[in-house]
Symmetry: C2
Subunit: 310 residues, 2 copies
């Protein structure tokens, strides 16, 4: 019987690979560089070689491997087709089929943010729930929606792209996507930093914040020591995050929302500043959900990818 | 083999019942009053009696009935439990189980808006698609989300409650739900009428609109004859509808959006005024979908309820 599964999380710089037991215990994890030359032609064969090497090193026969799950930074269709993954150089690549050919292992592929959501539901902050929305507040805002244990993939593999929903009218600055007033413009690490700059410039009081470090971390550290300016910034962040999440919760009615990504490392304070606006904007019963923090950090993708194939 | 299925759409005033062939042809449809006294205690038994009567009238044996689907105006859990349906007086009623007891027929129940979406996908405007969002622009704004052929029910049966997502900042008037800036405040029949009142009061030019009739129908009739004021109103309506639908499409990435309800009877003009704002606000590939009009009108609920049980 299969005892092991591999969870692979392909990023723009490194590929994270986890050897995981089929009941969800991380046995070993390691990274290899993402070779992006030749439109990423070597990436999957590098991963295949690394996995084969690990099996040889540990004397694990192929028959004990349930399969390999792969998270990809881009839209992935339900059958594993990646139309394009800009950061890797891939176009029209069926990751599942290609990797099965390379290794002989059953393979499943999914979008990295969706797969991370699945990981958090399996072994992280969303454990015990069956329908969750995960929002990842990193450099951008990513998201994954799991309904009845299954990823909402979307018609073109773009389900759960919550970073670019409109949350604020009258925004003058454009988002990276070209639109105005996107979720990501206020709630990503970059977004918080931009809010911080705006408030800092217009502030005349004393503050622990400095012009040199207006990062999301500095802001929430400031909140924790009672800094008034930091609190102002956190309030505007929370207003936007709460509003965006209220819209998602009203549409999806999940059991829980799991907040992850670098910004969420600030901890419970993120939820504290988000709930007032969430409660104000959410519709009726859709507000009756658990607002939770992610716990797996950068490992969520590996867990989720592994889960995908089980 | 079963040849027939019943689709039941319970409304606050009447219950619509359809005798439908299992391949989706409406054979006969009729209505009975919704008896709301005693907290709606007679509603299901009235429906059961009506169905039994119809079978007797047509000499159809029970063995030829695949089952009965029931649409309910309120949240319905995946197993048929209605926690409350305010318009009917129901609380904590398992409609599926109760109706199976009354008739012996396999029964499935769902929220009326969700069921209508399923109907439009089966035999209406969304035919041929597998993942759609239906938005119903009636007295309020309702919605239903179908993913891979299955209704997104939501953790508490409140999935697809899109009428109350926040679409506009700075709204001073409260929505019926108590929040401010809800989709429903601008895009329902009442919403269009409210927009019309606001524009009419501030307009000094000539117009075909009159203070006595500022209904959604009057507005779109005005658009069709080139009335400038009507166009202004339609533009604001379209801006809100496009924005709301863009948010939903960005989150869900459906194959198609189907627009139904009374307001949609104006036809293609609704889509024409919605697309600019939709395109402006939607994210990337999520905008590549079909924007369609519903075609089943008030029959959608019966078709969808029938489909639910098949």
């Amino acid at each position: 019987m299969a005892k092991y599964v591999f969870g692979v999380d392909i990023g723009g710089t490194t590929v994270k690979i986890g050897l995981i037991s089929t009941d969800g215990t991380m046995i070993e994890k390691w990274e290899i560089p993402t070779r992006k030359e030749n439109n990423g032609a070597n990436i999957l064969s590098d991963v295949a070689a690394s996995i084969k090497g690990k099996l040889a090193e540990r004397n694990i026969p192929d028959s004990e491997v349930a399969g390999v799950g792969v998270g990809v930074p881009g839209p992935v269709s339900a059958d594993g087709l990646v139309l394009r993954a800009v950061n890797l150089g891939w176009t029209d690549l069926n990751v599942s089929k290609e990797f099965e050919k390379l290794t002989g292992f059953k393979t499943a592929a999914g979008n990295d943010a969706n797969v991370a959501a699945l990981g958090e539901m399996w072994k992280g902050g969303g454990m015990g729930y069956n329908s969750i929305v995960m929002v990842t507040l990193g450099t951008g805002v990513g998201g994954g929606i799991i309904i009845d244990g299954k990823i909402l993939t979307g018609a073109l593999g773009a389900g759960g792209e919550i970073g670019h929903i409109h949350v604020r009218d009258g925004e003058e600055k454009a988002c990276g996507c070209g639109n105005h007033g996107c979720f990501e413009q206020y709630c990503s690490a970059t977004g918080v930093s931009n809010l911080a700059k705006k408030h800092f410039e217009n502030y005349n009081g004393t503050t622990v914040l400095t012009k040199e470090d207006l990062s999301a971390k500095a802001v929430f550290d400031g909140v924790k020591v009672g800094d008034a300016l930091s609190k102002e910034i956190a309030e505007e962040f929370g207003e936007c995050l709460g509003k965006g999440l209220s819209v998602i919760a009203t549409i999806i009615n999940p059991e829980a929302i799991v907040i992850g990504g670098g910004v969420s490392k600030a901890g419970q304070v993120i939820i504290d500043y988000t709930m007032p606006s969430f409660k104000e904007n959410v519709f009726s019963d859709c507000g009756k959900l658990k607002m939770l923090l992610a716990t797996l950090g950068n490992d969520a993708g590996m867990y989720g990818a592994a889960r995908l194939v089980l």
